[in-house]
């Protein structure tokens, strides 16, 4: 097997490195040559950590040479969304305000990947502070969808999705606040998992909306994502919201039969605005699940229609507070037009934040303001509870819920940048699971007539990621749902 051939799945790479069939350094070199060839057209990375990456690969090989057992992700090249802190490596959240900033510590998820002997390629592009659905809010450059370079990869974790989709690496980390892993996974034809809120540590993730943010993996296949989550999941004493619950063997779950599983189809996800091609592909996937012996049941989740409004109140409220620390005092950008504190704050934040970030800080500041708090923030918290109850009720009747991940396939770069509301609506199908804190993933189940990938969203009850993996793996196994790699990036 050549290095290039082994570079087609996370599990295969890890096993060949663990068994000595392939050196981690050879894989790292192949990865870098792919990055060199493909990155100029995709622009997935903000920083490629050439030296650290190769050094990590050599360290893995040396560890094996010493006869030590290697971790589950031995020699697997993984890219890290630039909202996650990596010690000594530039970390910007795609914002001017953090240009040149180098964290003094590793995010817990980064440390866990390292401990599993993964090799970290670099930092991927995103919408500034993870605020956006197309990656066009990056302060530095937009990312191009590997299936059609004129289209957006989705967002906010667009760089992480495009890096995997273009096979520059086979796994990456994203963060999902309202769909930022699932929607780009759908647009880029790969697997993306948003775990249960609290399943994976947020320590070291630059916060957007703390009660919604969750780190999760992207992979070319379901099993690879399952293995990554196995490594990432588990309690972290540095994150008070991380759950102290046992971590399932998600990889084993990929082989679990789905016969008898009750699949719920929430009708609210199939309303107006849904692209007919997406509708058709999702229904075809559901009928494939029926062929495997699943029972399909329509369900109703009446509060789904409030998810967008609820989300944009709560997420912006939290963001307005989370982004207060970017004040020019201790790190990052500082602008001092006058020798005066107030003008330093104003000038720094004005120059450092892009328009979407400013819009959200203003929105969030408004909804928390005295006199408006009850009408907006408090009301939204109540609706969030109602949305959560919709899920609880649905999961009384079904084991998983299947729906589109996004209402459309990847849209063109520039298509929605002047219409923030249209942009917000591209998250309409992913927001409810975020608000409820339940696990949800996107698995590719088909291509549109113009060759763009379509994702199926599988949602499961709290901490039942294994069940979602079983369903996603079943879809992946079905020949009728095969998607594969984009033609330009085999």
């Amino acid at each position: 097997m050549t290095v290039s051939e082994s570079l087609d799945s996370i599990v295969r790479i890890a096993e060949s490195v663990r068994s000595g069939g392939c050196s981690a350094e050879a894989i790292a070199r192949e990865t870098l040559s792919r990055v060199e060839a493909r990155e100029p057209s995709v622009r997935a990375f903000l920083h490629v950590d050439h030296e650290g990456f190769v050094a990590a690969a050599r360290a893995v090989d040396a560890k094996r040479a010493r006869g030590e057992e290697l971790g589950l992700l031995a020699g697997v090249p993984i890219a890290i969304k630039d909202a996650l802190c990596m010690k000594g490596v530039p970390t910007t959240a795609a914002s001017r305000i953090l240009e040149g900033y180098k964290p003094v510590y590793d995010a817990t998820v980064v440390a866990r990947l390292r401990a599993a002997d993964a090799t970290l390629v670099g930092k991927t592009n995103l919408d500034e502070f993870a605020m956006g659905s197309s990656n066009e809010n990056s302060a530095f450059a937009p990312v191009h969808n590997p299936w059609d370079l004129s289209r957006a990869p989705g967002g906010s974790s667009g760089g992480s999705a495009a890096a995997v989709s273009s096979r520059m690496c086979l796994g990456s980390l994203g963060s999902d606040t309202g769909g930022s892993i699932r929607q780009p996974a759908s647009f880029c034809g790969i697997v993306g998992v948003k775990p249960t809120y609290g399943r994976v540590s947020r320590y070291g993730l630059i916060a957007f909306a703390s009660s919604l943010d969750q780190v999760g993996p992207f992979a070319t296949d379901v099993r690879g994502a399952a293995r990554m989550l196995r490594v990432l999941a588990g309690h972290d004493p540095h994150d008070a919201t991380s759950l102290d619950a046992p971590v399932d063997d998600y990889e084993a779950a990929c082989d679990r039969p789905v016969a008898g599983l009750r699949v719920g189809i929430p009708r609210e996800y199939f309303g107006p605005g849904l692209d007919p091609e997406v509708d058709m592909a999702v229904r075809r996937a559901i009928s494939c699940l029926e062929q495997y012996g699943c029972t399909v049941k329509p369900v109703s989740m009446p509060h789904t229609k409030y998810a967008v409004a609820t989300y944009y109140v709560l997420a912006t409220a939290e963001a307005s507070s989370n982004l207060a620390r970017f004040d020019g005092v201790r790190f990052g950008l500082r602008k001092e037009p006058d020798h005066d504190l107030r003008s330093m704050y104003g000038a720094t934040r004005d120059a450092g934040f892009g328009p979407e970030v400013k819009r959200r800080i203003l929105l969030g500041t408004f909804v928390l303001s005295s006199g408006f708090y009850d009408a907006y923030y408090l009301k939204a918290q109540k609706v969030r509870t109602l949305i959560t109850r919709d899920f609880e009720a649905a999961f009384q009747e079904v084991d998983v819920l299947c729906a589109p991940t996004a209402p459309t396939t990847a849209f063109r770069l520039g298509e929605k940048t002047h219409d923030p509301l249209a942009m917000y609506l591209s998250d309409i199908d992913t927001l409810p699971a975020s608000l409820a804190g339940i696990p949800a993933l996107s698995v590719p189940v088909g291509l549109s007539a113009n060759g763009l990938p379509i994702g199926l969203q599988v949602m499961a009850p709290h901490l039942h990621e294994a069940r979602a993996f079983a369903v996603a793996a079943a879809c992946e196994r079905h020949d009728a749902l095969h998607v594969g790699a984009p033609a330009a990036f085999p």
Partner: protein, 480 residues
């Protein structure tokens, strides 16, 4: 002329006595090199998260119970948002609508004699929060920020507007500080800023129910200044009333040089803190069992101690006050009494001798001898083995050594002469040598008793057992 009544409410910020900060494991030690006790969390670095210090929770519960608060089984942290260089996250983690403790009380014993009265002060709430850092402006043209204090756990105690004079405010602060120090939740150190106070002051015509416009006095760093500032502020407000000037709701500071308060900022400049529940921390849940466990270890309050010393130990109110001046001294005194010392004698000896050698720092105190040593020493005096005067000498040699009192007595050769036969021989010799004085004393000139005692003491090098010596002199000269 209208008489006005002051209405005062107090807010006290007290640092909880934890070794580490509220939301990270950095040290809370005072006085370290700037920014040497910091980490990503208390520096507010991107991605860092808070994790609650459980010891701080225990101390907060303890503080609450010590002033009869109800402890909430579920309380919640909230973010108080504002920009300031010493506030690294741009928000302070505090508690807002669900504080950990509520509805406490503290009764103040005011005045003396016929003017004595009790002021009931209701404590509205106590909430946990983190301290900010410190801006330093003494290093050249730039200001620097020291974040060593950032994230230090505080408990804020808020009263209802129940106080009616500066003296009451002062008494409240001293009482609360004493209670906290005895409960071991705060070191009571005003100089290092671990106990700080803000006062809300308004006045209203006597008999009027409605409160006047409230002024907040902030950043006053001693009890004396708080009292002075309140007096000055009351006077200022009365003056406003008389001249018809409007009292505006504002925050004022205290200028000790001029003896006046001055405006810091008006209500219009007041911030909208945009409080909302802290999403990085789950609700704080404490079980009834936890609360009861803390209650069970709650120490006696200083006031209860004082009255117990007076009523059941028979010592004076003044002495009781001195002995309860510091929890470690009270504990030392009580340990000595528990080990058999006479309360009165232990109290006297501690006040007369030991206290001047005691050094205190916060809740810690260095006492130069152990309770056991004190008990042994007082026992030697009691049995007549040494005189009271010798006890002082023995104490001076004993302090800081850990030696037993008996060993010191032996080393100094201070064993008291209690051999009645030998004393009799010495007294006879004195009588024989001074027949005139002996006759006078026998004849009733009792003042000469001292002469004979003195002569015997001289003979024995001061080691004669005074009581026995007295007895021998009286017997030999047939004095009744």
């Amino acid at each position: 002329m209208t008489t006005y009544e002051p209405v005062i409410g107090l807010e006290v910020h007290a640092q909880l006595l934890t070794k580490t900060k509220a939301f990270c494991s950095c040290s809370t030690r005072f006085g370290a090199e700037p920014n040497s006790q910091t980490c990503p969390t208390c520096l507010g670095l991107p991605g860092a998260l808070p994790v609650l210090n459980r010891h701080a929770v225990e101390l907060a519960i303890r503080a609450g119970l010590s002033v009869d608060c109800t402890v909430r089984q579920t309380s919640r942290f909230a973010r108080k948002n504002y920009f300031y260089p010493d506030l690294p996250k741009g928000y302070q983690i505090s508690q807002f609508d669900e504080p950990i403790c509520e509805n406490g009380k503290l009764d103040l014993m005011m005045g003396e004699g016929d003017g004595a009265y009790v002021r009931h002060v209701r404590i509205q709430r106590m909430h946990m929060e983190e301290d900010a850092g410190k801006n330093l402006h003494d290093r050249g043209s730039d200001s620097i920020v020291d974040l060593n204090r950032s994230g230090t756990p505080l408990i804020e105690t808020v009263t209802e507007p129940d106080l009616r004079s500066a003296a009451e405010a002062g008494e409240y602060l001293r009482s609360l500080r004493d209670i906290f120090v005895f409960a071991n939740v705060n070191d009571g150190n005003l100089e290092e800023g671990s106990f700080r106070c803000d006062a809300n002051v308004s006045i209203r015509p006597v008999g009027v129910e409605k409160f006047g416009t409230r002024v907040e006095l902030k950043n006053i760093n001693s009890f004396r200044f708080v009292e002075k500032a309140i007096i000055a502020e009351i006077k200022r407000q009365e003056e406003c009333m008389r001249t018809g000037e409007r009292i505006v709701q504002e925050t004022r500071g205290w200028n000790d040089a001029t003896g006046t308060t001055f405006s810091l900022r008006s209500k219009e400049e007041a911030q909208d803190y945009r409080y909302f529940p802290e999403p990085d921390l789950p609700p704080l849940v404490v079980s009834p069992a936890q609360i009861e466990a803390v209650r069970a270890t709650l120490p006696e309050r200083p006031r209860d101690k004082r009255s117990r010393y007076v009523t059941s130990m028979g010592i004076t109110a003044y002495a009781a006050g001195v002995l309860t001046g510091h929890p470690k001294i009270a504990a030392f005194f009580e340990a000595a009494v528990a080990a058999g010392a006479d309360a009165q004698k232990a109290s006297n000896f501690i006040q007369a001798e030991v206290l001047r050698d005691v050094t205190t720092k916060g809740v810690e105190a260095e006492i130069p001898l152990s309770a056991a040593q004190l008990v042994e020493l007082l026992g030697l005096v009691e049995s007549g083995a040494v005189s009271g005067k010798q006890a002082k000498e023995i104490y001076a040699a004993l302090r800081g050594t850990g030696q037993s009192a008996k060993a010191v007595v032996a080393a100094l050769g201070l064993e008291q002469m209690s051999d009645e036969g030998a004393l009799e021989a010495i007294v006879r010799k004195t009588i024989d040598g001074n027949p005139k004085q002996a006759e006078q004393l026998r004849g009733g000139k009792v003042g000469l008793m001292g002469f004979f005692v003195g002569q015997a003491m001289k003979e024995t090098g001061g080691s004669a057992n005074p009581a026995m010596l007295n007895g021998v002199i009286k017997r030999l000269l047939s004095i009744t």
